[in-house]
Each structure stands twice: as structure tokens, then as C-alpha cells.
């Protein structure tokens, strides 16, 4: 009995202490529970190192849409990552940066990043928390320095308030800045396409979609693995090298010959809206992509390493496959106001 009394009074004391501290500092953080869709694997991102809160998410979201990150305050993350196209640069084969400078690759979509172990077409970035350093400092993208971004944010009354809400004080550090980006980025989860609804038995495919799904499973799924529609590894796809870009892909990072012309398998989620396609954006339509895999000898060779049978789709089957790919579109994700430009 004594013990119980002791514990009760102790916890009461701690409670009072806790709330009085809260009261004085006005620090109230709203934790967010990261919901893993039932048919998804375990996320790669370690949430214990960056526990999600609403305040940090909102800070990350505001930063994502703010051109203050670039040298001349003209380019934001959203410049090349627009929500309506699954957070990529729609209709540009190579992404633009500051002063109209043109990059060397087609910007990737930002979806389900909590399940990715490395980032960029060549996987050069090994952790989501350090990803944002690259576009901020790249001379073809934002051409800014990390110390200067921190200085600009530290001098901004708006960010003083946002950092205080998120962290309890207004100090801007690279760790706080970068982890706030991750807070926003990991929450860009798309799992509500027709495909997902069929998996959850809420909807059913049309016969054309069903046929396309079977074709997909036989010809594409070995790399574009369900349910994320990427195996998250590097593969060759037989694309001839662009004579101007001469992009060797993964070899740039590892310097290993075996990694020459290997690129990260991109997710096919919302593929309908994230054109143009491939690392250099050379194909404008899904039909071109499917035709390439269906006819190019090098692409066929690359696919045969993964699949039992050669990909030989008839015209009708190609249409069916693309019809299935459109079931990966998630309108709720593409138009979710929670991910959009934060209006004050």
C-alpha cells in the first residue's frame, strides 16, 4: 500500500512539474502517428530519430514552398516538384534551376519516400535527412550555401515563429532545417489509387485493367515491385546513352564498372501525371515507354535478365497495360490540400 501511495504521489509530482514547465514555455507539440498502409512493407525511415509532429511538418511544408532557399530567392523545391504531377517537374525533360539554368536529369517524383533507402537517379544520397542539401547547393538548381540559408531563416520573423513552434526556440540549425524537410517529405504517402482500393477489396478492375495488370505482373513487376512499384535498386534498361549528357548513372557514385548505366528504378505510382519519362525525360508519353521496352533489342535483353519470357505485346495489350498503369493514379494524393502551398 505504501508503495502504491509512493508511486501515485511521485507520478502526480512529475505530472505537475511537467505541466508547469509546459505552461511557462508555451511548448505544445502535436505528435503525429505515421500510418503504414496495411499492404505496404515496413518503412526504411527511422522515425525514432525524427519523431513526427504537426509543427515540424508545417515548418517543413512552408520551407518546401519557399524560394528563400535559393541564392536569389527565386527557386523553391516546388519549382521542380509540383504536387499535381506527383511532385515532379511536369513537361520538362531536364529540370530547370536558378537563372534558367538547365540541369542534367529529369526530376524525380516525391512519393512514399519513407520506403526509400537512397535517393536520386544514381542513389548518391544515402539518407532522406541529407537529401535537401544537394538541390540547395547545386549551382544548376538553387546555387545557395547552407550557412547562408540558415542566416536568412534566422533573420526572418516568420521563421523565428515557425521554428519556435516546432522546436521550442527560434534557433535555426542545419539539423533542424533538414529534419523538418524530412517531416514533410515522409508524409507524402500515396496509397489510395484504384490499385490500392482493389487490393483492399473496395473496388474491382474492369476486364481491360485486369488484363493490363496480368501483363504488368509478367513483364514489369520484377523491377517495379508492388506495392511501391519500385524495387528501390539500380537497374539497366537498355536506353542508349544521350550523346550530350553522357550520363553513366550509378557508376558516378561507386566508380564500379558493373554500375555503368544503372539508374534507380522509379516508382510507377501516379505515372499518368509525371511525364516526361526516364532519367533524361526522353519519352513524352507512356505509349513511347512501353513501345521502347517492347521493341528495342537492348531493352529486351535487359528485361530478359529479369523475366522468363520476352516482352512481346500486341497493340491491344499495350493499351491494356497503360490502362492498368492509370489505376496507379491517386487523386487524393495529387490534390490533398495538406501537401499544397501553405496559405496563411
Amino acid at each position: 500500500m505504501k508503495k502504491v501511495l509512493y508511486i501515485v504521489s511521485l507520478s502526480f509530482g512529475i505530472g505537475i512539474l511537467f505541466f508547469s514547465i509546459l505552461g511557462f514555455t508555451n511548448m505544445v507539440f502535436t505528435p503525429i502517428y505515421f500510418e503504414v498502409p496495411k499492404h505496404f512493407p515496413k518503412p526504411v525511415y527511422d522515425f525514432s530519430k525524427n519523431p513526427l509532429t504537426e509543427e515540424k511538418f508545417q515548418l517543413g511544408r512552408t520551407l518546401f514552398y519557399d524560394p528563400i532557399l535559393s541564392r536569389d530567392n527565386t527557386i523553391s523545391c516546388a519549382s521542380c516538384h509540383l504536387q499535381a504531377s506527383a511532385f515532379t517537374h511536369v513537361d520538362h525533360d531536364l529540370s530547370h534551376g536558378i537563372d534558367g539554368r538547365i540541369g542534367t536529369r529529369n526530376s524525380l517524383t516525391l512519393q512514399n519516400l519513407a520506403w526509400s533507402k537512397d535517393f536520386m537517379w544514381d542513389g548518391g544520397i544515402n539518407h532522406l535527412d541529407v537529401q535537401a542539401i544537394t538541390p540547395i547547393t547545386h549551382q544548376l538548381e538553387m546555387d545557395e550555401t547552407l550557412p547562408n540559408v540558415i542566416k536568412k531563416l534566422q533573420e526572418s520573423p516568420k521563421y523565428n515563429a515557425l521554428f519556435t513552434q516546432a522546436f521550442g526556440d527560434k534557433k535555426v540549425t542545419s539539423e533542424r532545417l533538414l529534419k523538418s524537410f524530412s517531416q514533410f517529405l515522409v508524409q507524402l504517402v500515396t496509397a489510395n489509387s484504384k490499385y490500392d482500393k482493389v487490393i483492399r477489396k473496395e473496388e474491382t478492375y474492369t476486364s481491360q485493367e485486369q488484363n493490363g495488370y496480368t501483363l504488368f505482373q509478367n513483364n514489369c513487376a520484377s523491377c517495379h515491385t508492388e506495392p511501391l512499384f519500385t524495387s528501390d535498386v539500380f537497374e539497366t534498361n537498355g536506353l542508349p546513352v544521350d550523346a550530350y549528357l553522357k550520363d553513366g548513372g550509378r557508376i558516378k557514385i561507386t566508380t564500379l564498372k558493373k554500375d555503368s548505366l544503372l539508374f534507380k528504378v522509379p516508382t510507377l505510382r501516379n505515372i499518368q501525371f509525371s511525364f516526361p519519362y526516364m532519367h533524361d525525360g526522353r519519352f513524352k508519353t507512356l505509349n513511347e515507354v512501353v513501345l521502347f521496352y517492347n521493341t528495342n533489342p537492348d531493352a529486351q535483353k535487359a528485361l530478359l535478365k529479369k523475366n522468363k519470357k520476352r516482352m512481346q505485346l500486341t497493340d491491344n495489350e499495350r493499351v491494356d497495360l497503360i490502362t492498368f498503369l492509370k489505376t496507379l493514379s491517386d487523386k487524393e494524393f495529387l490534390f490533398n490540400p495538406r501537401y499544397s502551398f501553405p496559405r496563411e
Binding site: 544520397i125 539518407h127 532522406l128 541529407v130 544537394t134 550557412p147 542545419s174 533538414l178 566508380t255 564500379l256
Partner: protein
């Protein structure tokens, strides 16, 4: 039957006591051990690093001449040191893991660090790593010496620069005659971390401070600046220079 029940009760009681100990005892024990550890046996020893070119102190902008007749001056020397370990004559060791020091030629203060040392023991060897291990390289954003703001983090790909030497030489046919060596890499086969082991002779044995010399001449004597003046990516060239860094440090 009755007995066994009683026994069980006693067992439970024991378990509870044990749990109480686990809850409160362990932190207490750690604190106690820590107090004992820090007061009774361990003291600290300052390590002072001296940046030299042969026997001369390196002063920004001052010219030096290498064995290969390159006239050069040093603008920046930055270097990560980690995983320090002191070995004593009785083969015992003290080490500090997961602690990273950034030596920066622009900050005199950074050239002096303190290491924990066991009292009344004679140091026979000092071991440390030049650079950052691969696990730390893949652990996301960090602060302190490892803050990417320190200019020792690559941006085009993830990873720390283990050491950085920049300066000018008339031998370099580059913009403003500059040379840049940014040496790093955490992926096999270009893992550029190097472990330095320096035996300490009885006669050198430090009591108050341990002075280590970083002689940049050992580095530039092996390089022809006309041909080799810019390495800023991991790879074979970086690995060669990382190997050279093994000779950089000597005990005074």
C-alpha cells in the same frame, strides 16, 4: 502444492525486487560507476597538433618548396580525427568512441583536444582515424563537428570529406593557380578512412601534453602539383592520397 505456491510467491517477490533494482538500481549504479571512474582513475591529457611544412610552422599565404620543386602556399587545412585510443605499457587502453574532432587551420582552438587518460599509466601508443567511418556517413544529418555547415560534407553525393588541403602553387595551371584536395569516400572499394598508429617511446613519454606534428611536406613531396592538383571525388586518386595521409602525423 501449498509449498510450491509459497515458493512461487517468494519467487515473484524476488522478481519484483529485481525489477525495482532494474528500474532504479541501474541508473544509480551507472552514476556511481561514472563518479568512481572519473574521479579516482581517469584524468585527461591535452593533445596539441602543430601544422608544419618540414620544420616551419604553416602560416597562411607563406611559400614553401616541396622536394619536387613546387612552390606552394597553404590556404586551408581541415581534417576529421576520430576514434582516439590510448594504449598503455601494461597493455590496457582508454578509448573514446563516437567522438569526432574537426581540425581547422582557421581555428587555433581546434588544434588542441583533450583525451581521457588513466592516471599513473605510461602511454605506449596512440591510435586514431583520419576521417569519418561508413556508419556515421550513412546516419543522416548530425550536429557539432559533423554539422554539414562546416564545409566538410559533399553536396553532390552524401558523405563527409575526411580531409581537405587547399592552396596555391605556380606549378598549377589552374584558375588563380589553386589546388584542391578533398579526400573522402565511404563506399567500398573507395573507403578513404585511414587508421593512424603512433608508437610512443619511453623517452618521449608525455606527462602533461602530447604534441603531434602534422607535416604537410610529407604529402607534397609525393605529389607533382603540375599534374595532380584537383581531387574532389572519392575514387582511386583519393585512395592514393588517403594512403599518403598515413605519414602525416608524427610525435614530437
Amino acid at each position: 502444492m501449498h509449498q510450491t505456491n509459497n515458493e512461487k510467491k517468494r519467487e515473484n517477490q524476488k522478481d519484483q525486487n529485481l525489477n525495482m533494482f532494474k528500474n532504479f538500481g541501474t541508473p544509480l549504479l551507472i552514476v556511481l560507476l561514472f563518479c568512481l571512474h572519473s574521479t579516482a582513475q581517469t584524468t585527461t591529457i591535452p593533445i596539441r597538433f602543430k601544422l608544419k611544412f618540414n620544420s616551419n610552422d604553416v602560416v597562411k599565404g607563406q611559400n614553401f618548396i616541396s622536394k619536387n620543386n613546387d612552390t606552394l602556399s597553404i590556404e586551408t587545412f581541415k581534417c576529421y580525427l576520430s576514434n582516439f585510443k590510448l594504449e598503455y605499457t601494461d597493455k590496457s587502453i582508454s578509448e573514446i568512441k563516437n567522438h569526432y574532432y574537426l581540425l581547422d587551420s582557421d581555428s587555433l582552438k581546434s588544434f588542441r583536444i583533450e583525451l581521457p587518460k588513466k592516471e599513473n599509466k605510461t602511454i605506449s601508443k596512440i591510435t586514431f582515424a583520419i576521417g569519418i567511418d561508413s556508419i556515421t556517413n550513412t546516419s543522416g544529418v548530425q550536429n557539432g563537428a559533423l554539422d554539414p555547415i562546416n564545409g566538410m560534407y559533399w553536396a553532390w553525393q552524401s558523405g563527409y570529406i575526411n580531409f581537405k588541403i587547399e592552396g596555391k602553387s605556380s606549378s598549377c595551371k589552374t584558375r588563380l593557380n589553386k589546388f584542391h584536395f578533398h579526400i573522402g569516400g565511404y563506399l567500398y572499394p573507395n573507403y578513404a578512412l585511414r587508421i593512424i598508429e603512433i608508437p610512443i617511446h619511453k623517452s618521449q613519454n608525455p606527462t602533461k601534453t602530447l604534441d603531434l606534428t602534422i607535416d604537410l611536406a610529407t604529402f607534397f613531396n609525393e605529389i607533382h602539383l603540375e599534374e595532380n592538383n584537383s581531387i574532389m571525388i572519392p575514387g582511386k586518386d583519393a585512395m592514393k592520397l588517403a594512403d599518403m595521409s598515413l605519414k602525416l602525423f608524427t610525435v614530437e
